[in-house]
């Protein structure tokens, strides 16, 4: 009984820890993105609220909370209200299976630094992330607005197209790690990260992750300059905030996944494992931001061509080659 | 022991009946396809249950194959819906009662 209570407390503690860290990171990623983008565009970025603009996320939250929560006329109210929640919640849910450190000993207990070590962790991630599209699609559809609908439909087809390559690009990883469990995958990279072992899978996965997060160059569902914000055109206040926060949580989550699958997770010399993990995640996020600053948005047909005609065959070939190599190596 | 097998079969039957009702009553092509999905799901349920009952994976593999078939069916079915909508600007089955294309 006592043991069970301790386990429960540990899980709760981990949940709170992850929740806190992820939300904090999401909030400051916004600021970091704005600052870095600003500097890359020879601007300063936000620097008015607090020293160096450090209180900007707080100001944003206060602003969003105090704004009018507006529901357009003839919108589908019910769906309109839950859609942003879907986006944010699915992004957070993925974190349940992400291991962010090796098993630690705390108060004499062996504590794995992961909420749940699912034996089908990879599939869990794929399943949950395939739910994320519902937030975009339903939000776009429920707004009863042309722009939103277009954004929703774009998001939908983009997800469907890239989900496939995303899943398939992970197959070599699973083959190499011989497990669906994310902890096992990290453990398999003790010596060399998979990024070096299978750079093609890494490249495809990274591109698909960009598409999954609706970020430039794959931000067609939002496309501010053609769709006025796309699926969240009609959203305001904290509901828009949920979409917004969801997007940045997604960044953290996907950054963590890239780290787990290809960058060797918490493995690294000299520094403590969790710091390594954090650094790697931040590096991926920084890459996201850098890409946003440097690349233009793809056209819709370019997006489809890339997804179906380049990435999909590439992953399939990669699976074959990896399988052959693994067989050859025995 | 989780549940008696008959309870699982009853659940599957009821789901199948709902799917059947949907196919028979609705006149919207998309809803008919949805009904088919429901029925296939209930079959999958029975297969998974059987697999667990006899503790063999074969049933689950059947479900996997079923899923693949469903995916193919939906792809063709929805393509047909789109095609028909292009032809008649409607997806009411009542309209597609002519022999001519």
């Amino acid at each position: 009984m006592n043991e069970m209570l301790v386990t429960l407390a540990l899980i709760l503690g981990k949940l709170l820890f992850i929740f806190g860290v992820v939300l904090f990171m999401a909030a400051y990623l916004v600021l970091a993105e704005r600052k870095i983008l600003g500097r890359m565009q020879l601007r300063y970025g936000p620097n008015r609220v607090g020293p160096f603009g450090l209180m900007q996320p707080l100001a944003d939250v206060i602003k969003l909370l105090t704004k009018e929560d507006f529901v357009p006329a003839r919108a589908d109210k019910w769906l309109f209200l839950i859609a942003p929640g879907i986006t944010a919640v699915t992004a957070l849910l993925v974190f349940a299976v992400i291991p962010f450190g090796p098993t630690q000993e705390i108060f004499g207990q062996q504590v794995p630094l992961v909420v749940v070590d699912l034996n089908i962790g990879v599939l869990y991630f794929l399943g949950v992330s395939s739910m994320a599209v519902y937030g975009v699609v339903l939000g776009g559809w429920a707004s009863n607005s042309k722009y939103s609908l277009l954004g929703g439909v774009r998001g939908l087809s983009q997800m469907v197209s890239y989900e496939l390559s995303l899943g398939l690009s992970l197959v070599p990883v699973i083959m190499m790690a011989r497990s669906f469990s994310l902890t096992d995958i990290v453990m398999a990279q003790q010596s060399l990260p998979f990024m070096l072992l299978n750079p093609v899978a890494f490249g495809v996965f990274f591109i698909c992750v960009l598409a999954e997060s609706n970020r430039i160059p794959f931000d067609l569902p939002e496309a501010e300059n053609e769709l006025v914000g796309g699926f969240h055109t009609e959203y305001s206040g904290m509901r828009f905030g949920l979409f917004f926060v969801g997007e940045y949580i997604n960044m953290v989550v996907l950054g963590s996944l890239v780290t787990v699958f290809f960058l060797g997770g918490w493995h690294g010399p000299w520094l403590p494992p969790m710091l390594w993990f954090l650094l790697k995640v931040l590096a991926v996020c920084a890459m996201f931001i850098w890409i946003r600053a440097s690349m233009p948005r793809l056209r819709y047909d370019q997006l489809m061509n890339l997804g179906w005609k380049v990435l999909l065959p590439l992953t399939l070939v990669n699976i074959l080659v990896t399988g052959a190599v693994l067989l050859g190596l025995g | 022991m989780i549940v008696p097998m008959e309870h699982l079969l009853t659940l599957a039957t009821l789901l199948f009946a709902l799917g059947l009702a949907c196919v028979l009553v609705r006149r919207n092509l998309i809803m008919i396809l949805i009904g088919v999905e429901i029925m296939i799901n209930s079959v999958g349920l029975v297969l998974v249950g059987a697999s667990a009952f006899w503790q063999q994976v074969d049933g689950q593999i059947m479900v996997l194959i079923l899923m693949a078939i469903t995916a193919a069916e939906v792809a063709i079915g929805l393509a047909l819906v789109v095609y028909l909508h292009q032809q008649k600007k409607s997806i009411d089955v009542g309209i597609f009662d002519e022999m001519r294309g």
Binding site: G38, R39, M40, L42, R43, Y44, W290, I291, S294, M295 | -
Partner: protein, 176 residues
């Protein structure tokens, strides 16, 4: 060649953005740092005076006619010496778009632009400027022009004494 160009085109921007990160931003931190505005910057309008110190504006309505947003209104009146002047003159700066068309239309160089652009405020009525708010005590950009000395009618000086005029004709004189 095509592929090389494509690859270069894809990755060159990354270098550009990276390089920019370490440059000094061009942003001017406005309330603390002020920009050096160009001399002919178009912002708040003023009504200038002629070199003799009299109002230049003759209330000819050309500025209000030229104004694309109808923010200028006025009423002409006649002074005792026959001078036409503005009885009231009003510019609604909440409407003004600072296009400067009024200054181009002004035949007397009365209405001129200044570089004073800090016109924001919460009370709209404070941005409705009357003649006494607009009138300044200098000649603005041109300190030599006096409309009434060039106009050819006897207001600032008696008829025939302005530059380029001959004395009034004596209709009863038959001499050439």
């Amino acid at each position: 060649m095509h592929v090389i160009r494509g690859i270069r085109g894809t990755f060159q921007p990354f270098w550009v953005t990276l390089r920019n990160m370490f440059r000094k931003p061009v942003t001017i931190q406005y309330p603390e740092e002020k920009q050096q505005l160009p001399e002919r910057y178009r912002a708040r309008l003023i009504l200038t005076r002629d070199p003799d110190g009299a109002e230049r504006c003759v209330a000819c309505h050309l500025c209000s006619a030229a104004c694309p947003v109808d923010c200028i209104s006025m009423q002409a009146a006649e002074a005792e010496d026959g001078r036409r002047y503005a009885a009231w003159f009003r510019i609604n700066f909440t409407r003004c778009i600072f296009c400067g068309l009024c200054t181009e239309a002004c035949p007397t160089l009365a209405i001129q632009v200044t570089a004073d652009f800090e016109l924001a405020g919460r009370d709209l009525l404070k941005l409705v400027y009357e003649k006494e708010d607009l009138l300044v005590d200098h000649c603005g950009n041109d300190n030599s022009y006096n409309f009434y000395r060039q106009s050819g009618i006897g207001v600032a000086a008696p008829r025939g004494t302005n530059p380029g005029e001959t004395p009034p004709a004596d209709v009863k004189d038959l001499m050439p």
